[in-house]
Amino acid sequence: MKIVEDLPLKWKLVIIMLSISALTLLLSSSIFVYNDLKLFKKSMVRNLTVLAGAVGANSRAAIFFGDPEAANKILSSLKKEPQIKYASLYDAKGNIFVTYTRAGLQGFEGPVSKEVGPSFWENRVELIQPIELKGKIIGKIYLNAHLKEFEDVVKSYIVFLSIILFTTLIISLVLSLKLQGIISKPILLLAETAIKISKNADYSLRASRESADELGILYSEFNEMLSQIQKRDKELGNYRHRLEDLVKERTRELEDAQKELVKRERLAVLGKLAAMVSHEIRNPLGTIRNAAYSINHSIEKNHPELLPSLELIDRNIIRCDNIISELLEIARTREESMEITNIDSWLNQVINEQSIPQLVTVERALTSQASIPLVRERFRRAMNNVIQNACQALMEKHAQDMVLEENKKGYFLKIESVIKDSRLEIIFTDTGVGIQKDQLKKIFEPLYSTKNYGVGLGLPIVEGIMKQHGGGVDVKSNYQQGTTVILWFPLVKEKT
């Protein structure tokens, strides 16, 4: 059974169909043959009985009168019946009267059973029949016939049945090989599809077959299962992607927060320091300025050679004051109220207030027509810082041009206000010295400066102010070509 269990479905079906047809055929033909042989035996017995009746009737007078000669003559008529091997007549007392032995045979074979009626033996059939006269039994006749005819019939049946069985099995084999596909093919296809799916983990595959039977149901349920698996896979994939994105975003936010924290800490330390230092320095600086003013006033006409030195003192005191102001600005933490401001006109006003070197040409293109909430004083400072930086870059360019003795393009600062991608952008484009690439990364770090007189707080302050407004600073620069600084405000509130 194990061997059959391991056979492919196809052969299982073939074996089942073959064994059913073979069994059915064997059973039905056995019944037929059994019945036929029984009938044949019956007819043999009937023929024998008729023969015995005829011979018995013919010989009854001979028996009755005890005439063996006549009886012998009658029995010898049996030579016309080739199946009769031996025969004999018995008188009323049961003694053998005459016997008959077929020519070619020797001796005489008497009956095994003395009973009246037919009896079958290994190779013969015997029949004993009474001979009657006027209702009285006056003797018996015994016939012994060979079964050659019967054996021939059995033999021919065996040959015939073997041929039928063989032919039927061949036909059944061919038919079952063809027909098994009806059941096995869809199952094999399903199995193949299942193997393909599990091998490639490709759940987009489908087993395609449409029928209303159980196999059709199996197919549609199988496909339905695949669809569910695929759907779940897709959802899982989406979740994974989203999770990855979420992790990335969170990581970036965390990193940003970390950076911000570091920057803030630096600034906080700086602020404390600046507040302390500025208080401590501003008073002596005021005293020095006052003293310088007194000196200037008292020696005004007596020592004109000292005047440049005094002016130098005054200018540097003012510069120190500015630095202190910047430091205080960056350390400032209090909240300020915002005012809705028409940015174009306000910008125009602020640019007018700026002290811009005569060499620099300022171009304006303030076309945004936007109104935004603004902490005006803070933003004025940011504007101030950016414009001063631009002017310094332009002046530096001018200094270089003076050394190289060339001035081709002039010194331009273009200030624009535009609305772009839901942002209000204020763009400052100068044709100054520009910033080197490696420096560009560091310009927003506090206390970093490319200028030999800078503190390195200008751009960090600007960035701080822009962040206060929910916006930011973008800087693009080509070294020796110029720099573009974009201060931008969001026009639509960012989603959180």
Binding site: R60, A61, A62, F65, I138
Partner: protein, 192 residues
């Protein structure tokens, strides 16, 4: 011849006489009995294969078999003994005649060999009656008797003269005819 010798001779004579009186005749009697017991049985058996015309037999005789014997009766009580062997179902009535009497409704008339001289007369007298004549004497059949029992090779054989029998309206079964020597009135003809 001495007295003693005479005595001896007398003894021998007595012995021979004893033998003559007791031994020899008794042996002859046995073979005689055997022959007639067989013949009697044959006669009764014969009747099983013979049909008499029913219209001429009186209804009272339908269940009887009237066996008449004319002349010297050689059978004695043999028929009573042979009745069973011959499976006779009818009542056997045996009648003895000296003279022919056709009114006695005989089925079978056994003509004893003692009537050899009157055979033609007997045949003549019964020729229109459904009486089966049976004899056991040579040439009886040829002379017009229906069935004659003769001994051939120590066996009893039947001689049948079918034409005579048929003329009387008596029917003899072919089974019987098969066993018999068929003879005609003039000379005999073995038809087996």
């Amino acid at each position: 011849m001495s007295k003693r010798n005479i005595k001896k001779c007398r003894s021998l004579l007595f012995f021979l006489l004893w033998v003559l009186v007791y031994a020899t005749p008794s042996h002859g009697q046995e073979s005689f009995d055997r022959e007639y017991s067989l013949k009697g049985s044959f006669i009764l058996k014969l009747t099983q294969f013979i049909e008499w015309p029913q219209d001429v037999i009186a209804p009272s005789n339908l269940k009887n078999l009237n066996l008449c014997i004319i002349g010297k009766d050689p059978f004695g009580n043999i028929f009573d003994l042979a009745k069973e062997e011959a499976i006779l179902s009818r009542n056997l009535v045996i009648k003895h005649f000296i003279e022919i009497d056709v009114k006695n409704q005989c089925h079978v008339l056994f003509v004893s060999s003692s009537e050899k001289d009157r055979i033609d007369e007997i045949i003549q007298a019964t020729q229109n009656e459904p009486i089966l004549l049976i004899g056991d004497t040579l040439e009886y059949a040829e002379r017009g008797i229906g069935i004659n029992l003769i001994i051939i090779n120590n066996n009893i054989r039947l001689q049948i003269n079918p034409s005579v029998v048929h003329r009387k309206g008596i029917n003899i079964s072919s089974e019987l005819l098969n066993l018999a020597i068929i003879v005609s009135k003039r000379g005999h003809d073995e038809n087996r």
